[in-house]
């Protein structure tokens, strides 16, 4: 199996003057990896840095076919469009758009003509005109995951996706991740112990 993401040791300077150092990371196609650590351990910061949403002070991130993200430089143009998908902790949606509209928006951001999302699996086919924010929390997180699968980026970073979900919804989401990890690498950050049985590998940070 080849590495779809390779990050050297990364340093991130925070606004409060703190400096966080993250170890080397390699993700392979087809694996579902859990990034585990207590609240405040820097999981989200690492995820944001890998996604190019937060500047890195030192280190290099490489995504297969997308080039390098280096300290002091902006991410390559297609970094988040084709290289990786980022699923934020909270399932953000545009309130002005319907469920379908939000998927269309995501497809448009990724330069796709259509949002070919598998809504049937989520049981949402009859809710396409409904406002996304009116769905249940579990449905919202699954929809947010489905949205991040659009474009088939080789890497998916999911930041605390199960933070506010009950057991049933957390399990449904992890099953979805497992299903879609076949042709990509998925890194899920969480302090949630319930996720361990679903993943291929666990990385612990303190």
């Amino acid at each position: 199996m080849s590495h779809v993401l390779h990050s050297t040791e990364l340093t991130v300077d925070l606004d409060n003057g703190k400096r966080l150092i993250f170890p080397e990371l390699q993700l392979q196609k087809g694996e579902l990896v859990l990034l585990q650590g207590a609240s405040g351990s820097g999981k989200s910061t690492w995820m944001h840095a890998l996604a190019g949403l937060l500047p890195i002070a030192s280190g290099t991130i490489h995504i297969e076919g997308q080039g390098h993200l280096e300290s002091g430089k902006k991410p390559p143009k297609q970094w988040r469009r084709n290289g990786l998908s980022f699923m934020p902790q909270r399932a953000f949606f545009w309130n002005s758009l319907s469920l379908k509209g939000n998927l269309d928006l995501a497809a448009w951001c990724k330069g796709l003509h259509d949002a070919n999302a598998d809504l049937e699996t989520l049981g949402l086919t009859d809710k396409t005109r409904q406002a996304a924010h009116s769905l249940s929390l579990g449905e919202q997180q699954r929809l947010s995951a489905l949205r991040s699968f659009l474009g088939n980026a080789p890497v998916l970073l999911a930041d605390e996706p199960t933070a506010s979900l009950d057991d049933a919804n957390a399990e449904a989401l992890m099953v979805l991740f497992k299903k879609h990890s076949a042709d990509r690498a998925i890194l899920v950050s969480s302090h949630d112990q319930r996720l361990a049985p679903f993943v291929d590998r666990i990385i612990r940070i303190s």
Binding site: R80, S96, G101, L105, W108
Partner: protein, 387 residues
């Protein structure tokens, strides 16, 4: 195109504030549009109406009132002038197309204008059913009067004393309708023409008088000198309508300038409100735009979303402006005299509208650039984490 769809939905989601902003914007633009149309139209109408009238002889009084009464036929005349005294000047060799008028009566509020054939030859006639008068007490009525009164050729009626008000009937003198004329000129829309002799016959107890004499003076030197000469040597008031009209246009332009300044101010305030509306929308929905970036959207795409909202507001404002123009045009027909148009170019005069069309689009885009640049300075991870 997709950007405009998303921008439209974002506006629709806050439709009340969006509509209010567009409405303020449209009010400013409407002021600009109506001012420019009015100025062009009134000046053109004045020039058209005063064509061939370089001299107006009337009784002393307000020159503006005299022009309104005897050229535009909308005000009370300043009085009558002695026929003998006026005729002395009418033999001047430089006076052409001399038209003599004598007002006195009305029929159901419509002026009965005593005049000579030169006057009705001067009227731009679209259609004439029947013929022009050949003898005293024969009249030609305008089409609007025919419709309003039901009078037809061959019918007779008697007038009431006074040009507008009913000050007593002349029931011993019947007028006979010999023609019905229609004219595109607004001042002739509601009129009854009859020979001067009719008016003098009806008022047989009074001396023969004119209300006004109008004439063309092709010779520029005479045009300049004759009015002053008449003023100095007679009891008549000699007016150069063109000069008076220039003065009237000057006043109007000053009023128009004030309205234009107010309209520009209103437009700028509207643009400012659109700017603040967008700014506060972005502050409240920071995570929406951060999400677009997190999903791979470019700054160009975000510009499409942000500027697209303002562009759509500008288009809505323009639509409301043109709707307002149509409404003002439609409503003006109820309070303006018949045949008078508020403005000629109702719908689209690109040459005339281009400056404020351009201003609108510029302000719309300009008001969106600030929020867009501000958005780029916000750390994306903070927007996603803090929201």
């Amino acid at each position: 195109m997709k950007a405009l769809t998303f921008a439209f939905k974002a506006l629709w989601h806050r439709k009340a504030t969006s509509a209010f902003s567009a409405l303020i914007w449209a009010l400013g633009l409407l002021g600009l549009a109506i001012t420019s149309r009015l100025e062009t139209n009134v000046e053109a109408q004045l020039t058209r109406t005063l064509e061939g009238t370089d001299l107006l002889l009337v009784a002393k009084g307000s020159p503006t009132q005299a022009i309104l009464a005897n050229v535009f036929h909308v005000d009370q005349a300043t009085g009558n002038i002695s026929r003998a005294e006026a005729d002395k000047w009418l033999s001047h060799p430089d006076l052409k197309n001399v038209r003599r008028l004598a007002y006195g009566d009305n029929f159901q509020g419509v002026r009965i204008l005593g005049c000579d054939s030169a006057t009705w030859n001067h009227v731009p006639v679209q259609t004439l059913e029947g013929r022009w008068p050949e003898a005293a007490m024969e009249v030609v009525i305008s089409e609007a009067v025919a419709k309003k009164s039901g009078l037809q050729i061959g019918d007779t009626f008697h007038g009431s004393h006074g040009t507008v008000d009913d000050l007593g009937d002349h029931d011993h003198h019947d007028y006979e309708v010999v023609g019905i004329a229609s004219s595109p000129a607004p001042q002739w829309a509601e009129m009854i023409w009859t020979p001067l002799e009719s008016v003098w016959a009806v008022h047989e107890e009074a001396p023969e008088e004119y209300t006004a004499v109008l004439a063309a003076i092709p010779n520029p030197m005479t045009r300049l000198m004759l009015p002053g000469q008449i003023q100095r040597t007679s009891s008549l008031m000699a007016i150069s309508p063109a000069m008076e009209a220039n003065r009237m246009v000057g006043w109007m332009n000053q009023g128009g300038a004030v309205l234009r300044i107010l309209s520009v101010l209103l437009t700028v305030i509207a643009a400012l409100s659109v700017f603040l509306l967008l700014q506060s929308h972005i502050r409240e929905h920071l995570s929406d735009y951060a999400l677009v970036r997190a999903m791979g959207g470019s700054w160009g795409q975000i510009a499409g979303l942000v500027l697209g909202q303002n562009l759509l507001l500008a288009l809505l404002a323009l639509t409301l402006t043109y709707t307002g123009l149509v409404l003002a045009y439609a409503l003006s027909s109820t309070w303006l005299p018949q045949g008078v148009l508020l403005y000629g170019d109702l719908w689209w005069n690109l040459g005339q509208d281009l400056p404020w069309l351009g201003l609108t689009l510029f302000l719309g885009l300009f008001a969106g650039i600030g929020p867009w640049i501000w958005l780029q300075k916000i750390p994306l991870h903070r927007a996603l984490v803090d929201s």
